[in-house]
Amino acid sequence: MAIPLKYNLRNLIVRRTTTLTTALSITLTVAVFVILMALAGGLQSALTATGNPLNVMIMREGSQSEAVSFVSHENYQIIRYLHGIATDKSGNPMADPEEIILVNFKRIGQTQGSNVTIRGVGPDGAALRPEFQLVEGRMFRPGMREVIVSKQLSERFQDCALGDKIKFAKGYWTVVGIFTAGRSAYNSEIWTNVDDLAADFDRPDYTEVVARATSPAAVKQIEDEANNDRRLHLKTETELAYYQTQTSAAAPIKGFGIFIAVLMAVGASFAAMNTMYAAVARRTKEIGTLRAVGFSRRSVLFSFVLESVVIALIGGIIGCLIALPVNGITTGTTNFTTFSEITFNFRVTPELFIVGIIFALLMGLFGGFFPAWRASHESIVTALRS
């Protein structure tokens, strides 16, 4: 028969200071863990949330990112008429040349900068990305040295607010609009007209071509035709796959987070162990009594483990609650595949909450098991005599 939970809870309340300090050391461990995982998760989700499976990116053979690709104007004319490409509202093939240029801008309040992606898009640039939404101002006009900036960038970088003038290439460009793009990587970009950008940077080639396929089968068709065309020497990749391969950018943060969490957890569970050993030592007589009235070793073991787990649970819940306010905070880092800034939000998801609680429970289990083991093997006679 199980020892009533009430017995443990009352004991915890009697020793509330110890209970609380032990729980708090678990709290801090869980909070640090959840915050770091929210950071990694946010970065990962910005990359996985990007990319349409029907969008095909056509780049130079061997280029590992958009930034180092180039596609000649002649090749663009070939690509435009590949089979399987959807048509846009005006009846043209939905295949746009794009120009990607990385420019170093300064973050607000900092003297050092970071590489920001400037994307020159064609007429279908926005239509190719359904998540794109203009939230302030208007769209840029070709030939007018106008740009639109993502909301996240405009909040983090100097001279990127609506109406500001930013300097790059041969002069100043006016910010005429602010856009959002769901949770995707386009949230870290500045957009303008493809030909304006190419002209200003003296680029003879486009960077890449983005084409929309009519169906998943058409994706295959476009890829096959592009790869088999001996004039092209290009590689094709769906937009979804392109961003998916970059999610490894979050791996170092995850690894680092786990390293820190494990070390902190060792410290915290030793603390829980100390607390529980003290609890067992103080209650040796009670344990003897429990055993004498017929509770089995197993019930005693279970009861003390449970007590430790309850402490950990309190700590874990508070830890998750402490971590909750970071949810949604915008931050940024450099994506080393593209060598450019990617801004993203911390993401504290319900799943992460559960993982945090489980992590806390594991600490409680580990910290409570040995003292409980000790308690359950106390011989009744010596325990009662102590």
């Binding site: 200071t17 110890t18 300090t21 032990t22 708090l24 050391s25 801090l28 461990t29 909070a31 640090v32 770091l36 130079r60 053979e61 061997g62 280029s63 590992q64 930034a67 180092v68 240029i101 990385l102 420019v103 170093n104 973050r107 900092q110 050092q112 900068g113 970071s114 590489n115 290439a169 041969k170 003296d202 690894g255 390293f259 820190i260 070390l263 902190m264 060792v266 410290g267 915290a268 030793f270 603390a271 162990m273 100390n274 607390t275 050993y277 003290a278 103080r282 931050t331 940024g332 880092t333 450099t334 060598f339 800034e341 040995f370 083991w373 000790r374 093997h377 106390e378 011989s379 010596t382």
Partner: protein
């Protein structure tokens, strides 16, 4: 002296508790010293002295991903105060596949030795490299890492440029001032330029300045030359250039410092809790000591001193342990990797002993004994696995040539961590000790712990 031995006996009385406390402090201090050493490696590297101070990097003002005309070399060389200048192009080539990362540059070879005068290279090897268009020189550590030999030909796969140069290793250099510089490969800029159809574009120029006082002025002069041209430049010291990279990663300093602070606070709670528990259990004894005539101050010192000793022991194990662990991995990873097993055994042994001790039981039943043996073996296996994973992970990161190459814990960090440990010992015990030492004798004797 007597007080000291009493303090020691007190600490050892509940030895399991003391050991657990010391271990949890040690693990936390290990973590703090790692974090602080990362901050120090990133923001305050050791090699900002000497020749690095005389070196400037000139790149496009709009960022290092854009190139400048190679003709800038002569215009920079003509700037007063400039001693030597070479083109230095980040090639970003992959060796076999993406997992083998190391820095590789295409450089002008003529004045290379003058600009990188901290490098040591045999004169015949230097000459051999200069004379052969497809030759390369490699840092000693990189050479050891891939077990290359002189005369060997390797292929780099271009990720930025659409070419795959085949290079013959003709020389090995060392850098006594900063061994982390030995993880780089240099080959001819002319060779790269030829493969790229003489496009004559350069990513950056490395400039050697005559004397240290002139450095800021020369940087300004170079940028003034190209001001208002289509390719404006930014010239900065090697250190500023490196910090530019660091800042691209985001606010690491804040993140790492915040985590360190959380860890400090956690140990404060852990030690505080332990000391509060053990002092409370001794309320009766304190009363006896008082009855015997010990002064309040003496008792206070006795209790705080005990916490201080325990915390400092944890600090020493953690910080000195961290220094040793990272030193050991650095020393053995490239040259004697099998010693990683020794490292894993060093972790497995205490882990096994810990499991053995924690599964101790007064019961002599055979089932209990079997559980104890099984737990010990499991403890050893887990410790061994953790040791191997840690060894491989840290070894891999610190030999990849990124920011943490030649990672070690600076002595200043060790000292700082000991300071933190001492402070934690005092702060965490002062309140329970004050309360215990101030209690009235009659009350304390009656107290049931």
């Amino acid at each position: 002296m007597k007080l000291l031995s009493l303090m020691w006996k007190n600490a050892l009385r509940n030895s399991r508790r003391t050991v657990l406390t010391i271990l949890s402090i040690a693990v936390s201090i290990f973590l703090i010293s790692t974090l602080e050493a990362i901050i120090s490696a990133i923001y305050h590297p050791a090699n900002t002295q000497g020749s690095a101070q005389l070196t400037l990097v000139t790149h496009r003002a709009t960022g290092i991903t854009q190139a400048m005309p190679a003709s800038y070399r002569e215009r920079i060389a003509a700037v007063p105060g400039v001693k030597d200048v070479i083109a230095q192009n980040w090639f970003g080539g992959q060796y076999i596949d993406a997992s083998n990362f190391f820095a590789n540059f295409a450089v002008d070879t003529d004045e290379f030795a003058q600009v990188f005068d901290e490098y040591h290279i045999a004169p015949d090897q230097l000459a051999a490299w200069k004379n052969e268009r497809t030759a390369a020189i490699v840092g000693k550590e990189l050479m050891d890492k891939y077990h290359w030999t002189l005369g060997q030909t390797i292929t780099l796969k271009g990720t930025i440029y659409p070419v795959n140069p085949e290079l013959t290793i003709r020389g090995v250099y060392t850098d006594p001032t900063d061994p982390s510089q030995e993880l780089t490969l240099y080959f001819h800029y002319d060779y790269l330029n030829e493969m790229l159809d003489e496009s004559s574009q350069v990513g950056s120029f490395t400039v050697r300045v005559d004397n240290a006082e002139d450095v800021p002025k020369v940087a300004q002069r170079i940028d003034a030359v190209f001001h208002n041209s289509p390719f404006e430049t930014k010239t900065e010291t090697v250190e500023a250039f490196r910090l530019g990279f660091v800042s691209m990663l985001g606010n690491l300093n804040f993140l790492l410092s915040a985590i360190s602070l959380a860890v400090v606070f956690t140990i404060l709670l852990i030690v505080g809790n332990t000391m509060a528990m053990s002092i409370r259990e001794r309320t009766g004894e304190v009363a006896v000591l008082k009855t015997l005539g010990f002064r309040r101050k003496t008792i206070l010192w006795l209790l705080v001193g005990e916490a201080l000793v325990v915390a400092l022991l944890g600090g020493v194990v953690g910080a000195v342990g961290a220094k040793f662990v990272y030193w050991f991995i650095q020393a053995t990873f490239t040259t004697a990797k099998p010693l990683g097993f020794v490292f894993a055994l060093l972790i497995a042994a205490p882990s096994a002993y810990g499991a053995w001790a924690l599964f101790g039981s007064p019961s002599a039943r055979i089932g209990v004994k079997i559980v104890r043996y099984a737990a010990t073996i499991l403890g050893a296996i887990i410790g061994f696995a953790v040791g191997i994973i840690f060894y491989m992970a840290v070894g891999g990161i610190t030999t990849s040539g990124f920011f943490l190459a030649n990672f070690s814990i600076p002595l200043l960090v060790v000292a700082g961590c000991l300071g933190v440990a001492a402070a934690v010992g005092i702060v965490s015990s002062i309140f329970p000790a004050l309360r215990a030492s101030g209690v009235k004798i009659a009350e304390a004797l009656r107290y049931v712990g």
